[in-house]
């Protein structure tokens, strides 16, 4: 324990005594990296961040449990939220390790001491590095999960248009999760809006493969069991050709090329008419 403390002191002392040199060397390294990788960020702002970054590192020589210090997390959050890449932080930490090691090798001749201080440097910087990675991956995970929820909310809306007629416009790729949602919303909506006719519009679905077709057929079949009619609309010519090539049988329910034609058909089925005022 006594030896440990002595070494601790050694590295702290070394860094404190040479703070200016270290700082200048570090800034030089970071600047090199920034010139290569980060083109376009405001330089003035970045320099301020550099200064802050370095003082943050120096401050943490004395901490062994960095999770207790909130300022580090705040700084990382701030950096990542301003759009600076994660690599800025990791490269900065690696540069810090390099400049300190260089100084150590230059000033210290005792090999064992060098090795010991080397381990100390690891103990100083590795927890910070771990923290950086942990923080940024958390930010990403949060973003992804928020977007996933937002996407799900957009994924399968059923819109009542006229009395007893509803439309479900589908846009984008359909995966298993979304297919389940389509089925649920369709059946719930048919009951809720007392829809006699539901139009499923696939104009915005880029690819209709067997899986997508299978889900649509199942959904339409379920709607039929509730006593309503499902009309598939928005079938583009190229989609029609691929459906035929795949050998998918869509003859169980009516299909129309456009939403407009489907709507005319739906009005007919429900005995309604659009009358022009003129």
């Amino acid at each position: 324990m006594g030896v440990q403390e002595k070494l601790d002191n050694l590295i702290v002392q070394m860094i404190n005594e040479n703070q200016e040199t270290l700082k200048n060397n570090w800034l030089k390294e970071v600047k090199l990296f920034k010139e290569k990788e980060l083109v376009g960020t405001t330089l003035k702002f970045s320099e301020e961040t550099d200064q802050q970054f370095f003082s943050m590192l120096i401050k943490h020589i004395n901490f062994h449990d960095i999770s207790k210090d909130g300022t580090l997390d705040d700084f990382f959050d701030q950096v990542l939220h301003t759009g600076l890449p994660l690599s800025y932080l990791t490269q900065g930490l690696q540069a810090a390790r390099r400049v300190v090691l260089n100084l150590l090798v230059e000033t210290e001749n005792d090999k064992e001491k060098v090795a010991a201080v080397y381990r100390e440097i690891d103990r100083w910087l590795d927890p910070i590095l771990n923290r950086v990675v942990e923080n940024s991956s958390q930010i990403w995970e949060r973003t992804v999960s928020v977007q996933k929820t937002a996407l799900l909310e957009l994924s399968a809306p059923l819109i009542p248009v006229f009395k007893n007629i509803s439309v479900m416009p589908l846009i984008g790729s359909i995966d298993t999760e979304r297919a389940k949602l389509i089925m649920e919303n369709l059946l719930n909506g048919v009951i809720k809006y007392r829809s006699e006719v539901v139009l499923i519009d696939i104009t915005g679905v880029p690819v209709v493969d067997t899986m997508v077709a299978h889900h649509i057929i199942q959904a339409a079949d379920a709607v039929r069991l509730l006593g309503s009619t499902c009309i598939l609309v928005g079938i583009r010519p190229e989609i029609a050709q691929t459906i035929v090539s795949l050998g998918i049988d869509l003859s169980l329910f009516p299909t129309k090329s456009t939403l407009q034609k489907g709507m005319e058909n739906a009005l007919e089925i429900t005995n309604q008419q659009l009358i022009s005022n003129k």
Binding site: D175, T176, D209, T210, I217, I239, Q241, L246, G247
Partner: protein, 133 residues
């Protein structure tokens, strides 16, 4: 033109990226709208088969040029359980997963050339080519 691009298929989103890759390459090669749709649908079927039956594998897409005849080849590779009865799999309506059973025979009809090699417990390799007309 020996550029080959591959997409690892591990989840449903990878199917979308494989499709995207295929669509872009088909567009670049000058395939028309209908053929683009055929190619992307074929990729979708093959990628989904990998995801459903093998769990993981990859889809490779390459432009080909044989004596001035241009085209696009899709290769689907996996180290999954393999297909025991290839003849049955190529029949319309045969399925082990409750689907439509139109996938592989459909791919064969969507593309111009089609070959399948599979060894039980080793894996499956499917290759399908579309020629530019």
């Amino acid at each position: 033109m020996d550029i080959q691009s591959c997409v690892e298929v591990r989840n449903e989103w990878d199917i979308v990226s494989a499709r995207q890759l295929g669509r872009n390459m088909a567009k670049e090669l000058g395939f028309g709208n209908v053929d683009q749709a055929r190619i992307t649908t074929a990729i979708s079927e093959l990628a989904r088969n990998i995801y459903l039956y093998a769990g993981r594998g990859k889809i490779c897409i390459e432009p080909i040029d044989q004596l001035g005849r241009k085209g696009l080849r899709i290769v689907a590779l996996d180290n999954g359980p393999g297909i025991r009865e290839i003849r049955k799999v190529m029949e319309d309506g045969y399925t082990t997963s409750g689907g439509l059973g139109a996938g592989l025979p459909g791919v064969k009809r969507l593309m111009d050339e089609f070959s399948i090699e599979s060894t039980v417990d080793v894996g499956t390799e499917i290759s399908a080519t579309k020629w530019l007309r």
